[in-house]
């Protein structure tokens, strides 16, 4: 029984970390309409930044600064934000699929940089030698995992509350205005370029936060962690959960990651022995079918965006900035 509980804690930790990433993407795509096809680059910047800043010294590459953990995590987020700011300045004039292709290219470039620049982050071997915070006090076992889960969950809740307030604020409404009709927003004296950049950087910092937690959880990151698959997975979570709805984003993360792991477990457990070898491929088909099915029958996601019409009788913050 303790085994099941221990596994569920582990599962929920990974799912919560992914949920934070989906929330970051939701700010960019769901609320602002920015098609970020390079999610993994910002996620990776957070992970690499955190481990390099917080790790022990390693021969052959940058690192070993051994910063106090929260500072290392903030540093990872800053790295993601800085990269988003530069990328944003260069690419945010692009729209829709052009932006997607440009950001996807950034992600591939990021992976290749990490794979080849051995002096920077160990190349294909990745960054190791990171001591998980408070490990000395809590040991390595279940208690530590439970503690880490609680921390991740609190960060997830804090991120959710921050974003809920943000999108309910006049700024959030401005994001949606830009998403729906940029010309109209401009005609009201708003500066869409600046606002788009702000949303892009904020979302990327949240992605970097998720990446930092991910690297901390495994105490390791390598170029294999920043392959385009992760971008696809996070997008699938957002689409299935419901773009534009923060609860949908969290729900989607848990649902897709749950389906991903549960199908692997169920197939290994229940499939006949001669099919066992093919369960990996079968799993891909199952997951793909679920996503295609969602797009066909419920393209708005399980928890679609709640459209808020600004009118009298709505909560007060809806009225401000009119």
């Amino acid at each position: 029984m303790i085994g099941v509980f221990s596994y569920l804690v582990f599962f929920a930790t990974t799912a919560s970390i992914l949920a934070i990433a989906v929330l970051g993407l939701n700010l960019q795509w769901g609320n602002t309409g920015l098609f970020n096809g390079g999610v993994v680059a910002f996620f990776g910047a957070g992970a690499y930044g955190t481990l390099i800043l917080g790790g022990t010294a390693q021969a052959g590459h940058l690192g070993g600064f051994g910063l106090f953990y929260p500072l290392a995590l903030l540093g990872g987020m800053a790295a993601a934000g800085l990269m988003a700011w530069i990328v944003g300045l260069l690419t945010l004039r692009l729209r829709h699929d052009y932006l997607a292709i440009a950001t996807f290219g950034v992600a591939v470039a990021f992976e290749n940089l990490m794979r080849n620049a051995e002096w920077l982050a160990g190349g294909a071997k990745g960054v190791r030698g990171f001591e998980r915070p408070l490990r000395a006090a809590l040991g390595d076992g279940f208690i530590y995992n439970l503690f880490f889960f609680v921390v991740v969950l609190l960060i997830l809740i804090a991120t959710y509350m921050f974003l809920e307030r943000l999108v309910a604020s006049p700024f959030g409404r401005l994001l949606r205005a830009i998403r729906e009709d940029e010309e109209a927003a401009r005609s009201l004296g708003k500066n869409p370029a600046r606002i788009r950049l702000m949303a892009f950087v904020t979302g990327s910092v949240i992605l970097g936060l998720a990446g930092g937690l991910y690297g901390t959880f495994y105490a390791f990151v390598s170029p294999q962690d920043v392959l385009p698959t992760l971008t696809f997975q996070i997008w699938a979570m957002l689409i299935v959960g419901g773009a534009g709805n923060n609860r949908g984003a969290i729900f989607g993360a848990f649902l897709i990651w749950g389906a991903w792991t549960l199908s692997g477990w169920a197939l290994s457990r229940f499939a006949p022995v001669d099919v066992q070898l093919y369960t990996g491929s079968v799993q891909f088909i199952l997951i793909g079918s679920v996503i295609v099915g969602m797009l066909m029958w419920r393209p708005q996601g399980f928890l679609p965006e709640r459209l808020v019409v600004s009118q009298r009788g709505k909560p007060q913050q809806m009225q401000q900035g009119e």
Partner: protein, 420 residues
Amino acid sequence: MSIVKTMGATAALAFGMSVLAGAAQAQDCTTKIGAVLPTSVDWGRPIAETAQFAVDQVNAAGGAAGCEIEMVLRDTQVDPKVGVDAAKALVDLEGVNVLLGAVSSGVSMPILTSVTVPSGVLQMSCCSSSTAFTGLATEGKTGGLWYRTFATTGVQSAVGAKVAADQGYKSVAVLYKNDDWGQDMARLIAADFAAVGVEVTASVAINDGQPSYRAEVTEAVTSQPDAIYLALYPAEGTAAVREWLSLGGTQNMILANSLKSDEFRDNVGLQYLGSALGTDTASPRSESADAFRAAYQERFASEPNGPGLANSYDAAMIVLLAMEAAGKDASGADVAAAIARVTDPDGTPVSADTAGFTAAKEVLASGGNVMFQGATGNVRFDANGDVSAPAVIWSFSDAGTEEVEFMSLNDVDAFMASLK
């Protein structure tokens, strides 16, 4: 939605059936071992099949430590978080204390740091080659729970340098797979070539899955080497070699063991591979290795050619022998400690098949130690869980591959010492 419902119903049905099946087998004793391997990748599936093959042989000998062995196999999809989750599920839900896997170092490493070491589970990888594991073990962070049967890249590169020296090549260009293994190989082979006085004219990284390698190959061709060293996998190796030959590159090739595959030979064409010499950790000198080869052919109707097959077999077999040696209800650490008893150079030699396992049982039961003579030779681990092994130089032939020269473990050690 209907797909989700159907899936739920199928899962529920399957669950019900398994409960029935579980009840029927309740009096038998079964020990589970875990395997996390990339079965959704073409070259990963045979690695898993070979591990299962070893388990079947052991079950034919009555299982290990008095129980039948069930290998629970999970796919990693070569995705670290999927592999880590699968490993955690195997440890927590299936209760395994022995884990085979993974293949990629980038997957094995997070499993080691976040699952097996914290849970005290033995992890034995067939194929992870990164030198980062040696570093981790040196720092004492693997807790003696990490082993791998993939001989350190040092043996491969040393023998590659020996081939170049023996053939009288003065200059060599290197093409390497751009991952942790390939980068290690490129670095080591450059040092070893330098030690035997061979000049490296170009060292070019080959990324996976590119439609063309013309730019990379051109860079190597224009450096006009006497020979080319290839540390690549079959798919990219085939593409790169085709371009290499079509650009007029020499047919003098030195191949890492990853290209010891029928796929590579057939797709490039045997007529172009007459001057190609490969290196591998040694196989097939002892009777046991012949036994493995024969049994493998009987089971799969093909030669055990392909990256990691022999390593995967040995990984599974050594773990099972160690479980036998550690006895019933042993912890992961107990099994890890027992590995020394089944790879003891002074122990009774046992072959790599059902009969060998039966013989090993008797020796271990009477308190003796055994020396497992595996598909990759007499496997011997050092304190970091790394394996050193005898080596073989091979070439392609009509039937597959044939041995050109065999180097015993002592030869290999002596040659590697001479390079320092």
